[in-house]
């Protein structure tokens, strides 16, 4: 082994019953590099990582780790940790019922001289870690009290704090905002300079070009190639991932700013608020309009949407849907009014692992129609097939258990679930999180198509570009308050300005 290399994987082949997830894949990681592992949803990125850390058993191939003679086979994450491989898996994998400090240290708690857990040191160390990362967290609180983004940062902090030679980050940035991504990148570069090899999986191409040194591309479980970043410009990278030329920058939004002043108003919220999260706000949405909500993470984007939908009851104000004043007591009321909400915390609210793709997909529709009016199987199948096709869900069949799908493909099914209810008003909270570039574009197209059919949408995304391409109006939030609305001249610049404050639209 070249003495600059910390990790080599050769000829890794891994089959799940009925699916060849990896076929003869090679991967090399060098000291002090950030190595992007790229590929579409279901390409096998997470599986490759899990083969390395012992969660999945591979059938053929060899793994070598610097400093260890002979091929290495890990049997558990613990094994891998002992060999200096520290991992943040795709979904946040921490325990909500334990305190933040424990989540950072469990399995490697500081001990007193009697061999018991030294809570004082543990808490002090945790406080230091959180402070270094500039995170406003009380380490004694239970983890579940904090937002998904903070949990993600805590998971990263845990992995980073372990002495490791190899750090694996599987889509760590999917629920982070720019600020936190920046913190993460700073951390990653520091570690790289210390000689740690970092594997980084993401679907955000800009992030690859911002920090990575090298890219390995997988497609359908096979290796496409390994490239230095400089030799693989964006367009080529996308082509390598998809296996065909594709221009994700293509302008999707064709017509100029549409004028909705004559269109019917569908949602008319006046002075709605929810104690503790959202200050009173007003928002009107016309039929056929896509409204974006933007602001820093934690500014109340999701919360505002939840108040309109009735997932959080409003304490003040009135809501008119299609001209009629309504009170929404529970999500089912909202659904019956023709509303739909794709929530951002999809791990907690979304997937039912032991049900099939079809069953997961029809869930919301079935709830809407009432439990006793079973949707005919024929219709279920037709719907499922339709959404598998439009959303490009990579699954062995419609009856495959959803937990056997890759993370991104699970997301697509959940999106399909809400689209299938055929709502007149749909709130999409981070609909493209964890989804590959190709499908992202498809989803944006779909949003515009729905709008053209006369539906109203709220679109929330951390990617401003994505919203620029789909929205005709944007609400700007800051600290739980709607501070402005941008209706014309929607550009990256105006939006950024408005988010940061001091923009002209206030």
């Amino acid at each position: 082994m070249d003495n600059n290399v910390v990790l080599t994987m050769r000829g890794i082949t891994m089959t799940f019953p009925g699916v060849k997830a990896l076929d003869n894949v090679d991967f090399t990681l060098r000291k002090g590099e950030i190595h992007a592992l790229m590929g579409e949803n279901g390409a096998g990125k997470s599986t490759l990582i899990k083969c390395l850390t012992g969660i999945n058993a591979f059938q053929a191939g060899e793994i070598h780790v610097d400093g260890i003679n002979g091929p290495v086979v890990n049997h558990s994450t613990l094994d891998a940790q002992k060999k200096g491989i520290s991992t943040v898996y795709q979904e946040v994998n921490l325990c909500g019922n334990l305190s933040v400090a424990e989540n950072l240290f469990i399995g490697r708690e500081p001990k007193t001289k009697f061999g018991t857990i030294d809570w004082k040191t543990m808490i002090k160390k945790s406080q230091k870690i959180m402070k270094d990362l500039d995170m406003p967290v009380d380490v004694k609180q239970n983890l579940e009290e904090y937002s998904l983004a903070l949990q993600q940062m805590i998971a990263i902090a845990r992995a980073v704090d372990m002495e490791c030679k190899v750090l694996i980050l599987d889509e760590p940035t999917s629920s982070l905002d720019d600020n936190e991504v920046e913190k993460l990148f700073k951390l990653m570069t520091q570690l790289r300079d210390k000689g740690v090899g970092i594997v980084f999986v993401t679907h955000f191409l800009e992030q690859v070009y911002a920090v990575c040194d090298r890219i390995t591309v997988l497609r359908n479980g096979t290796l496409v190639g390994e490239y230095p970043v400089a030799e693989l410009p964006r367009v080529k990278l996308v082509a390598a991932m998809m296996g065909k030329d594709f221009d994700d920058m293509a302008a999707i939004k064709t017509d100029e700013a549409a004028d909705f002043s004559n269109a019917e108003v569908f949602i008319d919220a006046q002075g709605l608020s929810h104690k503790g999260t959202i200050k009173p706000f007003s928002l009107t949405i016309h039929k056929g309009e896509v409204v974006g909500l933007t602001g820093l993470l934690g500014s109340g984007r999701s919360e505002l949407a939840r108040v309109i939908y009735g997932a959080d009851r409003n304490q003040t104000g009135t809501l008119k849907v299609n001209g009629k004043e309504v009170t929404i007591k529970s999500p089912i009321d909202a659904m019956n009014l023709g509303m739909g909400l794709l929530p951002d915390d999809r791990k907690a609210e979304g997937i039912i692992g032991d049900l099939s793709v079809r069953e997961n997909l029809i869930l919301a529709l079935q709830a809407k129609r009432g439990m006793f009016r079973l949707i005919p199987m024929k219709e279920q199948i037709a719907l499922t097939d339709e959404y598998i096709k439009t959303l490009q869900v990579k699954t062995a069949s419609r009856e495959t258990l959803i937990k056997q799908l890759s993370g991104g493909n699970q997301q697509k099914v959940i999106l399909g679930r809400w689209l299938a209810t055929n709502p007149d008003f749909l709130i999409l909270d981070e609909p493209t999180r964890g989804i590959d570039v190709g499908t992202k574009t498809e989803i944006q197209k779909l949003v515009l198509k729905l709008a053209k059919e006369g539906k109203s949408l709220i679109f929330i995304s951390s990617e401003i570009e994505e919203m620029l391409r789909t929205c005709s109006k944007m609400g700007v939030l800051r600290d739980g308050e709607k501070v402005g609305e941008i209706t014309e001249n929607l550009t990256q610049e105006t939006v950024m300005k408005a988010i940061a404050g001091g923009g002209s639209n206030e």
Partner: protein, 336 residues
């Protein structure tokens, strides 16, 4: 998030503790003529429930992992039978028998723990098999009621540990010195040790992690099967300690002994704030759960006119109350 807010689990615990004191105080007022307010009545509560307390501590540990152990009642019957028959018929020495019983507990737990942890069989099924096995083995050893007259054991059972304070005159005017039995000391030691273990050892915290989110525990590098195995070993071991305490109270072995004890242990844990889904709970709560259970049956007994089944009904009502309370708190938490 700034000011330390009351965690809903702490609140549940406080409710349990308050409930115990209210209940006990009510008993003191209503039955003051029957001597309910005497310190000895309280100590008897501890004496009568020492065995259950040991078992409940083990049960709580298992429930923290999201599991359940319904074999404890039969294991106690088996322990008592081995002690009784061993001393009376086989002529073995009592201390040796106690050690044997503890070892049996460990082996019993290992087998159950292996099935749950490594073979990934449902805990309910595994421990149900354990339950049948325990009861069956007891019957195989003897179907008769075997009373213990072993000198050492009798002496152990009759040892009074008198408290240096709290002497009182009873309603006949005689001076009484309050006392506890050895079993109470054992049970309280178990309680303290398990409390410290849950808070200050890696194993203790792993129990919470496994119950909180098993998949995450694996991903964080914890050895989940081993943790579960140890939990079941611990439970059966504590159950055997409880079995000895139990035997010291009853001084006999009997096939029907401790039937339904597992349910008492589970209900005490739940009343004490342990969630059946795992990850939440602690033995302080379980202690008060046991005490509440004991107080109810003492109240019913003191009344004298009520059918003893009323205590079951009261426990059932309490269980419902606490489970509803738990889910209400969970709802409130979700809403936030």
């Amino acid at each position: 998030m700034k000011n330390k807010k009351l965690n809903s689990n702490t609140l549940l615990l406080i409710i349990t503790i308050v409930l115990f004191f209210v209940m006990y105080a009510a008993g003191c007022i209503v039955y003051s003529d029957k001597g309910f307010g005497n310190i000895q009545t309280f100590l008897n509560l501890l004496i009568n429930n020492a065995g259950l307390l040991c078992v409940t501590c083990g049960m709580t540990c298992i429930m923290l992992t999201g599991g359940i152990d319904i074999s404890v009642g039969s294991l106690i019957a088996l322990d008592c039978m081995i002690l009784a028959v061993g001393m009376e018929h086989w002529g073995m020495s009592a201390p040796v028998l106690c050690i044997i019983v503890l070892l049996i507990g460990i082996v019993f737990g290992m087998v159950q723990g292996f099935c749950v942890g490594y073979l990934k069989i449902q805990p309910f099924i595994v421990t149900m098999a354990g339950m049948f096995f325990g009861r069956g083995m007891t019957a195989v050893i003897s179907t008769n009621q075997v009373s213990i007259s072993n000198e050492w054991f009798v002496k152990l059972a009759n040892t009074k540990i008198e408290l240096p304070f709290g002497a009182y005159t009873n309603n006949k005017g005689a001076l009484q010195i309050p006392f506890v039995r050895l079993t109470v000391v054992v049970a309280l030691i178990v309680l303290v040790v398990i409390f410290l273990m849950l808070r200050y050892t890696k194993f203790g915290r792993s129990l919470y992690a496994v119950g909180g989110n098993e998949q995450s525990a694996v991903m964080m590098g914890l050895n989940v099967p081993m943790t579960k195995l140890k939990a079941y070993v611990l439970s059966s071991f504590l159950c055997s300690i409880g079995g000895i305490c139990f035997c010291l109270n009853t001084m006999s072995g009997n096939v029907q002994q401790a039937t339904g004890l597992e349910m008492d242990a589970i209900s005490s844990s739940v009343i004490g704030g342990t969630l059946l889904t795992g990850g939440v709970g602690n033995v302080i709560g379980s202690f008060f759960g046991v005490m509440i259970n004991g107080t109810i049956s003492t109240l019913v007994k003191t009344n004298g006119k009520l059918l003893s089944s009323w205590s079951n009904i009261a426990v059932a009502a309490l269980l419902c109350f606490f489970i509803v309370l738990q889910s209400v708190f969970a709802k409130i938490k979700e809403k936030k």
